[in-house]
Symmetry: C2
Subunit: 589 residues, 2 copies
């Protein structure tokens, strides 16, 4: 077929409608399916816009019909014909082009195809390794293409929004220095500076702060970032951030702009009207009410503290826990009424799987509670529980107690209940902010404070006075955005005062030399008139995944890598030549 | 100043106009200049939007005046005051805010500043190494900021244009496999696959072709690319491409869309109306008329062939050259009339510098020519030269002759004349396409054919039949875009037929194993129904540089590296720890 001529399309396959009947059209596309109905050949022709049925009738064109006879799945063809209305009994209401067909008068094969290693069909279940090996075929499936289209729209929409708000898109270096993000860097040997290495950025954090010091005022970038981590479920070695930074702001300024950005994004991309401002919940409240800093409030099931009900209990287990300054916390299960024994058992085993010593379930039956511990409770305690939890007949209530951290168990159980019992939520999308994170965490292994976000995060002014005496009580001017229980972005106001930054480094136990080596240039920059500034970074992969309704970020990445960092299509990474290694002055060991 | 409160701005400095007189405003910005006029202190306050004069009058506020007394250059302040009209004699017409000033009632220092290592002043001449070391200060200068603003606008405008034409933005991997672009790859050692390396992409070429095979139809990306080259003048190790690819097209389809994109780009970003279609000139014509494949047609001075005039000449030098199948070519110098001897001498030495054996100049004086070779020319030859070159009295005409390649000399001389003699061109911007490049070049050293673009470039259909017998006569479906004599982009229709691709690889002397290793996955993909496709890539750095009227791409890059690949601010590249090397299983040698 070398150099063979072909007719260029006049229309896209998926664009034809009943209004086009009578038109002479040329289509270019792939053979999705071919049916030979004794003489007349029907083909579903596919391009990026969708499918349309094209009909090869030997009475219309014997030559075209002959071409159609040779066609197999995934052949690329060009065909010219007339749009006709399908007979009423063959209209396909599930197809946008289902009312029409193209009656072919001329056809050419542009490219032939081998038989694909799997069916190019939406929704067909194909081994992921095979899909990745033949990703160029996998993406031909509509359900693989759609998330990429959505991702592209997200990027364009976000950029235009930020541009309209005066943000400048600025590219920061990829061949750079280690960033203090905590994960392992990818490094790139420098040939011109033998023995030295660039690091690929884990984020543009330091550069965007420098841009603020440079007076850029508002910066954004959709930036590729890199972390050489052992890949747990659904991570990629390279990922993409929507990254931005602003000067002369406080948290509410950034939050208001981001609220508007997400309203705009969901309106333009999803045709969904969100209403802003999105709720803000402090980290402390989130941990109390949801057991996690990534709450999904679409289901109620808020966790409450029931300790006070048991302040004088005869129930020994609870009493001893409370005496140890432990707590009794729990929540009412949505959507589970008059449960079967096996449902209650499943809750207990889930709690055990989550590491709980035990779980107390209770079902309201009239004025009493069915529960393994019912006999230990006074009527007063029973009444108080029913009232505080607002239980109606048959409803289930779960209690966990302990001196230890109950949050992982309670949050996990809540998730389990959402997945297994709860009805569909009224709202499909819940966006919220978690704010006022602690500035530091205590690392019990290393016996030292660590930054909850990163060391440039500003303490909030109202807790600043606690910095020396009670660092764990200091909150930060930080904020995470959570979409449907998944953290999609996080950021903070940064420290812009070199003295304050010094104090934070000291609390973190970072030595002067370490600070100087790692980010001396940033600290130096602070001494030349730094504006107050702050920003946020969103994980584009995860955001697009949620918006596309997918379960894995691999579904919104054109060429994803496997868990072990392999590109199964190109076979990267690969060995390199001795000559290359020699030129770079490195050797594999 | 830790935790000190400051008032947030209500306005940008550069936004205030005479209409704002009477307004109460808060400004946040940097102290550009401070003048103490005996009692009243004037400050030029700067933010991203520009400058405004703020006045601290002790009679308005003694406290604010006291704050102003402490201020030094680059301090960051917040001040509140009233916009007033400047007295008529102190209006500054060169400043957008020059009719107003802000009379300050309250002021706070937000951040102090050390004395900057150079003056933060537009146009001041600062050593580049010092600028790069303190790039966060350098960018505070308006002439450094403007190109970054322009670059951001170019990126947004191009993306929106492509989005509106149905292109999908798709991110291709950064951790990938060597691409066959000919330059040296940067490599990244893989920790998870010891002994193996990723390559950073030199371009997304293979991936965008795979996207076409995947049915994506129209792709674009503003993509970071990497080449580990010894940096000649004005290259960077990492650079940015506007990269796109389309399916089911021929060259004219792509060219028409790009014409429209550049009209849109110049209209929106430069307020310049270009008229499309832009001229197309074949590679052969460009080499003939301009001696280069990057012609700048804003000045005429087209080169012509004068060999025929000398077909029977008595001038021995020309005769012997013509007998050796050499040629006599030359052009008339624009803007040089009745030249001085030293001007003519400068042309001769420039020709020698460019490697010419000699240069013949001629000046029309009545019906004769003043020239060192005048005495060797017949009146008929003289008349023919004057007529063919359309010389008027006093005009200068240059001739070079030789059996060798005259193009470098003629193109170089033409550039020299443009720079030294030619008047300003009528048009500030000349965009054109160079098309029909040869498919192959002959590498005299390696005695083999090489691709003029890259091995995936499609031969043009009309010369395809010469592929086996006369490969150097085969032209390709390729196109470069040239802006004011600088190549800003290049691309081609790609081969989509695996058999044709095989033939090209054979002509290039690429063995089967080499092909399989380097891009076997692409060749395999061609066998599953590849659409005709083609694309182009523009150098964003260079395009932004030209549009910003700058001489170096370093001026349109926020954090450029030096010629030896150093980031003087962060000191990247840097040594890495033994532990890191060990984990990566590499060693420096």
């Amino acid at each position: 077929m070398i150099g063979r001529e072909w007719k260029k399309r006049t229309h896209h396959c998926g664009s034809l409608r009943i209004e086009d009947v009578g038109r002479d059209v040329v289509l270019n596309g792939w053979v999705q399916k071919r049916r030979d109905h004794g003489g007349v050949i029907f083909i579903d022709l596919r391009d990026v816009s969708g499918l349309v049925q094209v009909v090869f009738n030997p009475e219309i064109s014997a030559a075209a019909h002959e071409v159609a006879g040779e066609l197999r799945g995934e052949y690329v063809i060009s065909c010219r014909g007339t749009v006709g209305a399908r007979p009423a009994d063959s209209v396909n209401p599930r197809l946008a082009t289902g009312e029409v067909e193209v009656r072919v008068e001329e056809a050419d094969v542009i490219s032939a195809s081998l038989t694909p290693p799997f069916e190019i069909q939406e929704g067909s279940d194909v081994d992921e390794a095979l899909r990745f090996r033949y990703r160029f075929l996998d993406m031909r499936r509509r359900d693989q293409l759609e998330p990429l289209i959505l991702r592209s729209r997200v990027a364009v929409t976000v950029r235009n929004f930020l541009d309209s708000r005066g943000f400048l898109e600025i590219e920061t270096p990829m061949l750079t220095k280690s960033t203090p993000e905590g994960a392992r860097d990818f490094v790139v040997p420098s040939r011109l500076q033998p023995g030295k290495f660039y690091a690929l950025p884990q984020s543009p954090q330091l550069f965007k702060q420098l841009l603020m010091i440079a007076g850029i005022d508002r910066y954004y970038q959709i930036a590729r970032c890199f972390r050489d981590e052992d890949m747990r479920a659904d991570r990629q070695l390279e990922f993409t951030q929507i990254d931005l930074e602003m000067s002369f702001i406080e948290p509410e300024d950034l939050i208001a702009i981001m609220d508007a950005m997400f309203v705009d994004l969901f309106r333009r991309v999803m045709s969904v009207e969100l209403s802003d401002p999105f709720p803000q919940i402090s980290w402390q409240e989130a941990m109390e009410a949801y057991g996690t800093d990534r709450p999904d409030p679409r289901w109620g099931m808020e966790i409450d503290d029931f300790s006070s009900i048991f302040s004088a209990t005869d129930f020994k287990l609870f009493r001893s826990i409370l005496e140890e300054k432990g707590r009794v916390r729990g929540f009412k299960v949505d959507g589970l009424i008059a449960p079967a024994r096996r449902e209650l058992d499943s809750l207990v085993s889930e709690a055990q799987r989550l590491g709980a010593g035990g779980l107390v379930w209770m079902v309201r039956e009239g004025d009493s509670l069915r529960s393994p511990v019912a006999k230990f409770l006074s009527q007063g305690e029973t009444d108080a529980l029913i009232e505080k939890a607002a239980m109606v007949e048959g409803e289930v209530f779960l209690l966990a107690a302990g001196p230890g951290d109950l949050n992982p168990v309670l949050a996990g159980l809540r998730q389990y209940c959402i997945k297994n019992f709860a009805p569909q939520p009224a709202e499909a999308w819940a966006l919220l902010w978690v704010i006022d994170f602690p500035l530091f965490d205590w690392d019990e292994n290393e016996k030292r404070y660590k930054s909850n976000h990163h060391p440039f995060t500003s303490p909030s002014r109202r807790t600043l006075e606690l910095l020396d005496d009670d660092p764990l009580q200091v909150t930060s001017d930080s904020y995470d955005m959570v979409l449907n229980g998944v953290e999609i972005g996080g950021g903070s106001i940064r420290i812009h005062d070199p003295e304050l930054q010094d104090r934070i480094f000291k609390i973190l136990g970072l030595g002067e030399q370490e600070v100087e080596e790692k980010f001396g240039f940033l600290i130096e920059a602070f001494r030349y008139g730094a504006p107050p500034h702050g920003g946020i970074a969103y994980g584009l992969d995860r955001l697009a995944m949620l918006m596309a309704g997918k379960d894995s970020i691999r579904d919104v990445i054109a060429f994803p890598k496997t868990q072990s960092g392999l590109d199964l299509m190109t076979a990267a990474p690969d060995i390199i030549s001795q000559a290359q290694l020699k030129e770079l002055r490195i050797r594999s060991t």
